[in-house]
């Protein structure tokens, strides 16, 4: 018997990283390649993990790389958010202790235009009072972390393998993400950033904070989840979709151009969520990848989280637990107590 989730409070990014380290290693069975360690020349701490997750009959190994910023990190500091930095979370295809924290094997790289390289979640460096976090996990080892940066404003980081039962097999599915793609000017102002797709409602699309590994039509790459797709989403209005290159990622740091055929971005299907007669509705967050111009194929559902109606605009406090669901402002995290 083990409790697959943990709740608590933190008062420094490093403390949150330590809590994540303890939980995913001791409870969720991740391998600690490097525990929280000071980054040379910085005051932030890096950590590296891996987990082989067998899901839908296939074993996939996820490499998850984290950085809890310290006061000397300058990336992500905005004039309007001088107290906030990025809590970084990105996937890779391997681990090498000799490589820098942000250059692990197979790391995703923004093509051009991004203000940074990796998905991030804003975080308070030194909040005045302890802030809540929840680390949700399941028996597979998928992990999803939601943490407050101020009262009522939450961010997320996550890693695991997408659930493919709804869309069928393909080579890939490993993911890691955070609330947003690093360093966008919008990153601190969107309440939806407790979801993995922080720029969902932001008109200025700079990038998505969720990366999925996938082989699509013969090309293997990291692809980004971004926004919902609907009739108004065109490459022109949402350059993340791929014809533009702002915020998109590709496999190799040295590459200058999109692989051909390009793996473009991933999208997700927006929920329809509702309540009737006290029944709380949850809807999967379904991801899709663009294969040809404006055409998507499904890539699966994000584990552990679902859209939920109970909290959307209705004032139910963060942390409300009904059944095995932990409700944040926009999503429900599935809690496992096994």
């Amino acid at each position: 018997m083990s409790i697959r989730y943990a709740t608590g409070t933190y008062q420094t990014p490093s403390a949150l990283l330590t809590a994540i380290d303890t939980h995913i290693v001791d409870v969720l069975g991740w391998t600690r390649n490097m525990g929280p360690t000071l980054v040379a020349g910085k005051s932030g701490r890096r950590a590296h993990y891996q987990k082989t997750i067998t899901k839908d009959g296939v074993a996939r190994t996820v490499y998850w790389n984290l950085l809890a910023p310290g006061a000397t990190e300058v990336q992500g500091t905005l004039s309007s958010e001088t107290n906030k930095l990025g809590f970084f979370s990105y996937p890779s295809t391997g681990y090498d202790a000799g490589l820098a924290w942000d250059r692990q094997p197979g790391y995703p790289v923004a093509s051009t235009g991004g203000l940074g390289l990796f998905p991030a979640s804003t975080i308070e460096l030194a909040p005045a009072s302890p802030l809540n976090f929840i680390i949700a996990g399941n028996a597979y080892g998928d992990v999803y972390v939601v943490f407050a940066i101020t009262n009522g404003s939450n961010r997320s980081i996550s890693a695991g393998v997408l659930n493919k039962s709804s869309c069928g097999p393909y080579d890939g599915g490993e993911f890691a993400g955070a609330a947003c793609f690093a360093m966008s000017a919008k990153w601190a102002s969107n309440n939806l950033m407790e979801t993995p797709f922080g720029f969902y409602t932001v008109s200025s699309y700079y990038g998505a904070g969720f990366l999925v590994r996938a082989t699509v039509d013969g090309v293997t790459n990291w692809v980004t989840i971004q926004n919902e797709f609907n009739s108004t989403d065109t490459a022109a209005t949402t350059p993340i979709r791929g014809t533009g290159n702002v915020g998109c990622v590709k496999s190799y740091a040295s590459a200058e151009n999109w692989p051909s055929p390009a793996l473009l971005s991933v999208s997700y299907v927006h929920p329809s969520i509702s309540v009737i007669n006290g029944i709380i509705m949850h809807r999967d967050i379904q991801c899709a990848v663009m294969r040809t111009t404006s055409r998507f194929s499904m890539l699966g559902n994000v584990p552990l989280i679902a859209w939920s109606s109970i909290v959307v605009n209705n004032g139910i406090p963060w942390g409300t637990i009904v059944g095995n669901k932990f409700y944040t402002n926009y999503i429900a995290l599935e809690l496992r107590d096994e």
Binding site: S165, S166, C167, G168, P169, Y170, V216, E228, F229, N230, S231, D233, V269, H270, S272, I273, S274, V275, I276, N277, G278, I279, M281, A288, R291, T292, S294, R295, F296, S297, M298, L299, S309, V312, N313, N314, G315
Partner: protein, 406 residues
């Protein structure tokens, strides 16, 4: 849900053929265990069927035995050949991965629908037994035709309560399902039936005209949301035209079909003042299901009415899964706002009545980028046979949807 695809010489012949089809036991969606990835599209009961669980177990790559939870041993069969029993028939298809001894397919079989009122050529009102054999639901249709108007069709209705004198209390019979000309139009019927609902699409010429009756697929249980009736046809009127009016005859300009679509478009024929799709609300009133042409941030408040919600779903942007299978998504019927929200002033929270039974949104394009066409067959991830249909003569992506047929 058992299915029928059959040609008839006229609308009158169709309703009689449908009558015969309904008075059989019907299977619900099967579940599979084991290795093989084959399927079965034609499982159906007979007039002697009873509510039970039927389990088919493979004894080799092609041979199987069948047992009913009530009927007991029902015999043995071979894939590719029609298995027949007095209460159950099916043909097993071998998939790309062979069946293995021990693989199973399990169906829930319902009892046959029963006719509450049947007058050939006039009245067809049934009691569906419920998917569990207990939650009965009364639906049916009555013929309306006129030689001057030149039309033949049926009013599709819900008949919740039968009174002691055989009449019905508070039936809802507004939806109109036109079935061609008075003299008889050749028509092809596509229908799926469960123990609690029926989907019917008639193809007349190049027009596909749909109707639905029974219980919606609801969240939770029928105890939590009792009597979730759904009934719909091609159109209805706020003020019905005269019996002799040709307005009853379906044409391109007079009344659209039950236009469900990937974007949640139009179920109504607003210019005629009536809607095509109705549900019985939790407040025990009939409410129309309106169309939604915009997303959740801008849709209208519709009082007691519901809306088909296609928010953020654009089938023109979807193609099959990477493994070639198709994903399918239900049509949600959404009501805004919830009364509690209106009372408390707390922000709008959608209220989900349930889903339209049998019908699904699907990607509009195949793996080659070709627009799907009506009557093509897809295979969903759950091995469900999905038949592509369209609204009326509208074959663009907005009007394509799929109906479970197996």
């Amino acid at each position: 849900m058992s299915a029928i695809i059959q040609d008839f010489a006229s609308g009158a012949a169709l309703v009689e053929g449908l009558h015969t089809f309904l008075l059989k036991g019907h299977t619900l969606r099967p579940s599979f265990t084991g290795t093989g990835n084959g399927y079965c599209d034609d499982a159906i009961g007979t007039t002697s069927s009873v509510q039970e669980v039927i389990t088919l177990t493979f004894t080799s790559a092609t041979d199987f035995s069948v047992v009913g939870s009530v009927s007991g041993a029902m015999g043995t069969g071979t894939a590719g050949s029609l298995f027949t029993h007095a209460r159950f028939l099916c043909t097993i298809v071998v998939g790309t991965t062979a069946w293995v001894s021990g693989d199973t397919i399990t169906w829930t079989m319902t009892a046959p629908w029963t006719a509450l009122q049947y007058v050939a050529g006039q009245t067809y009102i049934y009691r569906a037994p419920g998917n569990d054999g207990n939650q009965e639901v009364n639906v049916g249709w009555t013929v309306k035709s006129n030689s001057t108007g030149g039309y033949y069709g049926v009013r599709v209705g819900a008949y919740p309560t039968v009174l002691p004198d055989g009449s019905f209390w508070q039936p809802w019979t507004k939806p109109w399902w036109p079935l061609g000309s008075y003299s008889g139009s050749a028509v092809r019927l596509f229908a799926s039936v469960s123990g609690q609902a029926i989907w019917m699409t008639a193809r007349i010429g190049s027009y596909y005209i749909s109707a639905v009756a029974g219980y919606a697929d609801i969240p939770g249980t029928l105890d939590q949301q009792p009597f979730p009736y759904i009934v719909g046809g091609a159109m209805s009127w706020a003020s019905e035209p005269a019996d002799t009016s040709a307005s009853w005859l379906y044409s391109a300009s007079q009344g659209g079909p039950l236009r469900i679509s990937a974007k949640g478009y139009n179920t109504d024929n607003e210019s005629y003042g009536g809607e095509a799709l109705y549900v019985r609300t939790a407040w025990n009133k009939w409410g129309a299901v309106y169309h939604v042409t915009s997303n959740a941030s801008t849709y209208e408040v519709q009082g007691n009415s519901y809306q088909l919600w296609g928010s953020s779903f654009d089938s023109s942007k979807l193609q099959p899964n990477l493994d070639g299978s198709f994903s399918a998504w239900p049509f949600d019927m959404i009501r805004m706002p919830d009364p509690l929200n209106a009372l408390t002033g707390i922000g709008a929270m959608p209220d989900n009545y349930g889903n339209i039974p049998f019908a699904y949104r699907i990607p509009a394009y195949d793996a080659s980028g070709n627009l799907l066409v009506a009557e093509s067959i897809l295979r969903s991830r759950s091995r469900t046979k999905m038949l592509v249909l369209q609204n009326g003569a509208l074959s663009n992506y907005l009007n394509l949807f799929a109906v479970e047929m197996f």
